[in-house]
Symmetry: C2
Subunit: 140 residues, 2 copies
């Protein structure tokens, strides 16, 4: 079966606050938005930010918890892009979880929580190539 993920949907409490982090912090543009959801076209899938109450109702899971046991990563193409992007995200509602360090496996990475406590690793990982379209391939 195709190793395929079509959508990641993040539960959010405040659409305006979340939109500011993604649109002004990351600099992304929505592909669709209404009063309860914003969709971003990503590298081969869709990122959705949806009011948590609506997401919980749709999943039939009334009690969602934070912070969840997951992390997302946005990889940049050079080591010296990591710190400035983290700073930028902190200026648009992000919260520093971990200042960037050199992990044992190489590269350079830190963590920022979005305004709804969802963790983003901001990383430079030279072993994992990123195509011009943004597609990432595993490498050692």
């Amino acid at each position: 079966m195709q190793q395929q993920l079509s959508v990641i949907t993040l539960g959010i409490a405040d659409l305006v606050r979340s939109r500011r982090f993604y649109c002004e912090g990351f600099g992304w543009a929505p592909v669709f938005e209404n009063e309860e959801i914003v969709f971003y076209q990503m590298n081969g899938f869709i990122l959705g930010t949806w009011l948590e109450t609506s997401l919980a109702a749709d999943m039939k899971r009334p009690a969602l918890a934070r912070p969840g046991a997951f992390a997302m990563a946005h990889n940049v193409s050079a080591r010296d892009e990591v710190a400035p992007l983290i700073e930028r995200l902190l200026g648009f509602g992000g919260r520093l979880l971990k200042a960037p360090v050199e992990p044992p496996h190489g590269g350079y990475a830190g963590y920022v929580a979005d305004p709804d406590d969802h963790a983003w690793e901001i990383a430079w990982n030279p072993a994992w190539p990123i195509s011009a379209e943004g597609y990432v391939t595993f490498g050692l």
Copy 2:
């Protein structure tokens, strides 16, 4: 800035149990694995399943909660593939959250939790095309 996500990492409690769900349930093959992490090459990014204690330490977030306020979706190419895939996932450690229904915006979708309580929507959404490589494009 590129609308780019490189990795999604899920915190897991038991590597063997999680691997069974993804490899036998979804039928996916790891691109890398060791005693604490399994990586899957996905459509333009990497999915990681990592022991939650290690992920929490890496993020400097000691207390991760479940279920987290997020969902992932795996879209299939035909309506009649939804129910059999849900059944299959339930046979390999998944737990039914919501039997498939026709949502107001069209298509057909249900939700299954993986063995670590991470939610997967299994959906047929004819408005969002999936390329042969597995890349999904937003559509209305």
